[in-house]
Symmetry: C2
Subunit: 348 residues, 2 copies
C-alpha cells in the first residue's frame, strides 16, 4: 500500500472543497469513496463494496471499542486527527490485552472543508493503520452544512481478539500492586496546545501519539499477571488513576519525582500554569501489576521504543481517602484531585 | 430494562445543558456516563467499565458496519436520531444475512445542547436496541464548542455473526433475477422533510425507521438462495439499484406501477417536485433473487409486519446501457439516472 501514498498527479486542486453532494449517497459520494477511501485504505474487506464488511473471526474472545475524535487543530506536531483516530482506538482495544485487527471509520465533514486536507488525513490514517497491521474495513461519510461542524470529525471503532488466558481489567488492582507508566506524561496535550495557541518553546513539543499494541504484546510475553492496563488520554495520568482506583476500590499513592516528564513539557506547564498530571497522552500506558512482575515488565518496556522511559511511579494501597495522593520531592504527601473538567478541551 | 425508562424523579432540569466539561474525561464526564448511558443502556458489557468491551464470539464469520448519523431535525415523525442510529446500523449488518449482536455508540455533542433532549435520545436508543435484541456495549462522548457542531451527532458501529452457509452480497445479482422491495418507498425522507419544512399534509407522513433483521431472518428460513439484500437509505431506491447494478455488472429494469408508494408520500412528492425513487428509506430492503425463490420469499415478507406491502418491482438484465430503466404506466421505458447528489441533505 505504501506506494499508493504517492500519486502521479494530485487528486484534488487546492481550491476543491467538500460539498453537501459528497455526503448525499449519490454519484459524488461514490466517487469520493472510490478515489479516496478505497484507494488509500485498500484491503480485501473494503473491496467487498457492501454496506458492511465480512470478516474472519479470531480465536478466544472479542474486544470492541469506539472513539469519536474532535481534536482541534486537526494537524499538530507529531500527528493529525487521522493518525490519532487510528492510534486512539487501537490503544483502547490493546489495553484489554487483545490484538487489534479491524477498524471502522466514520467521517463527519463540514461543507467547505478542503479536499486536500481530507486526503492528507486519509493518507495519515492509511499509514498508521498499515504500520499497526490493522485494516480499515468499513466506513461512512456524512457532510453537514457550513457552520454545523468543524472541518472534520472521525469516529473509529476497533475490534480485537483476546486469548482466553489473558485477564486484564480496570477492577483488578489490589493493595500491594505497583503502578508503572511507559514514558513521559503530557506530551500530546502540550503539543496540541502549543500549536493551538501558536506558542514557541526552545525545545520542540511533539505529540506521543502511537499505537501501543506492540508494546502490550511484548509485555504479555514476559508476564501473565498484569492486573490493569490503561492509556491515560483525556484527563491525563491523574484522571486515569482515579478511574482505576474507583473501579478496583483501592487507593493509589504516587511518587512525584519518579514520574517521567519531558523538559519541554515541564517548562511549558510551569509557564502556562497547567499540571502535566492532567494533560492527555496518546502513546502511553499505565500498568498495574504485582511487585514480583515489575522487574521483568520494566525491562521489556524499557527495551521497546515506546517504553524506553518507563518507570515505577507508585503503589496501590487499601481503599482510603484520598483515593489518589502523591509523595512530593520534599517528603510531604498531597491529595491529587479528580478534576470536574479537563484543562484542555478537544484534545483528542 | 424497560422499567428504567421511567425515573421517579427527572434526571435533568429543562434548563440543563451540555457543557465542555461533560466531554472532558473528568468527574462530570463520568457522572454523565453513569447517570445516563450506563443507566439506560444497562448491560453486562457496558458494566465492565473499561475503555473497551469484552464480548463473546458468535459462530461463523463476523460482519461489521458503521454509520454516522447527522439527521436534522433530530426528532421527526416516527423516530429520532437515537432510534435511527440503532436501526440504521442494525440494518447494514442484517443486509449481509448476519444476526446483529453488538453496537457501539459515539456521541459528538454541541455545547449548549439540552440534557433533556439527550436523555430523550438515549432512552429512544435503549428502547430500540432492546426491542432488536442488540446490546450497546461500549461508547464515547465528546463535546465541541457552541457553533462547532449541531446539537448531536451519533456514530454507531454494529457487529453481527453470519452462518457459514449464507452468501449474500451486492455483486451476486445475475440476469434473470427478480427485484423485490419490502414495502412503500420514500416514507422516511418525506417524514423528515415535512418536519423540517413545517409542512402539513392531510395524511400523516411517518418515517419507516425500523430494524429489519427479523424480516431477514424469516426470509432466510424459506430461501437459501437470496443473491442481494440492501436497504435503500440515502439516495433512495434508485441509488441503491444503481449501486447493485454496477457491483454485479448487470442492468435492472423496474416496473413503475409495481413500486409501492404511500398516498401521502405520492402527494407530497408531487407537491414538492421530488421523485420518491431517490428519497431515503430506513425500514425497507431490496431483495434480488432467482425467479423460483420469489413465491416463497414474497409470502413470508408479506406475512411479516415490516414487509406487508412487499412487491416484485423489476428484473435483472444483462449489462447494457442504461444500467437502470423503468417501464412507465403507459408502456414506455425511461432511463432512471444516478443522481450526482441527493435531493435532501442530512436525512440520516
Amino acid at each position: 500500500m505504501m506506494e499508493k501514498q504517492h500519486r502521479d498527479s494530485p487528486l484534488f486542486k487546492a481550491s476543491d472543497c467538500v460539498t453537501m453532494a459528497h455526503g448525499s449517497g449519490g454519484r459524488l459520494s461514490t466517487q469520493l469513496i472510490d478515489s479516496l477511501f478505497k484507494h488509500y485504505f485498500d484491503n480485501r474487506y473494503l473491496a467487498q463494496g457492501n454496506d458492511s464488511a465480512l470478516l474472519g473471526l479470531g480465536r478466544g474472545r472479542m474486544v470492541m471499542s469506539t472513539d469519536a475524535h474532535v481534536i482541534s487543530p486537526i494537524f499538530f506536531p507529531g500527528g493529525d486527527i487521522g493518525s490519532l483516530a487510528v492510534h486512539g482506538t487501537i490503544n483502547d482495544v490493546a489495553m484489554s490485552g487483545a490484538v487489534p485487527c479491524y477498524l471502522s471509520a466514520a467521517f463527519i465533514l463540514e461543507e467547505g472543508f478542503p479536499l486536500v486536507d481530507l486526503e492528507r488525513v486519509v493518507v495519515s490514517m492509511a499509514m498508521a493503520a498499515e504500520a499497526a497491521g490493522v485494516a480499515i474495513v468499513t466506513g461512512d461519510t456524512k457532510v453537514v452544512e457550513r457552520g454545523k461542524g468543524d472541518g472534520i470529525f472521525i469516529t473509529t471503532t476497533g475490534i480485537g481478539f483476546l486469548d482466553d488466558s489473558v485477564n486484564i481489567s480496570g477492577d483488578l488492582a489490589i493493595p500491594g500492586d505497583v503502578v508503572m507508566i511507559s514514558g513521559t506524561v503530557g506530551d500530546h496535550g502540550m503539543a496540541v496546545l502549543s500549536k493551538r495557541e501558536h506558542l514557541c518553546f526552545e525545545t520542540a513539543l511533539i505529540s506521543d501519539s502511537a499505537a501501543l499494541h506492540g508494546l502490550v504484546a511484548s509485555m504479555l510475553e514476559v508476564s501473565s499477571n498484569i492486573h490493569c492496563l490503561r492509556d491515560p488520554t483525556r484527563g491525563g495520568l491523574a484522571t486515569t488513576l482515579h478511574e482505576l482506583a474507583e473501579q478496583s476500590q483501592v487507593s493509589i499513592i504516587l511518587d512525584e519525582v519518579a514520574i517521567p516528564l519531558h523538559p519541554a513539557v515541564r517548562g511549558a506547564s510551569e509557564l502556562l500554569g497547567l499540571d502535566p498530571l492532567y494533560i492527555a497522552n496518546e502513546g502511553k500506558l499505565v500498568c498495574i501489576c504485582p511487585e514480583d512482575e515489575v522487574d521483568a515488565l520494566l525491562s521489556i518496556m524499557q527495551a521497546h521504543p515506546l517504553g524506553k522511559n518507563a518507570a515505577v511511579i507508585g503503589h496501590v494501597l487499601p481503599k482510603q481517602w484520598p483515593p489518589l495522593q502523591m509523595r512530593t520531592p520534599l517528603g510531604g504527601v498531597r491529595v491529587v484531585d479528580w478534576l470536574a473538567a479537563e484543562q484542555l478541551p478537544r484534545i483528542c
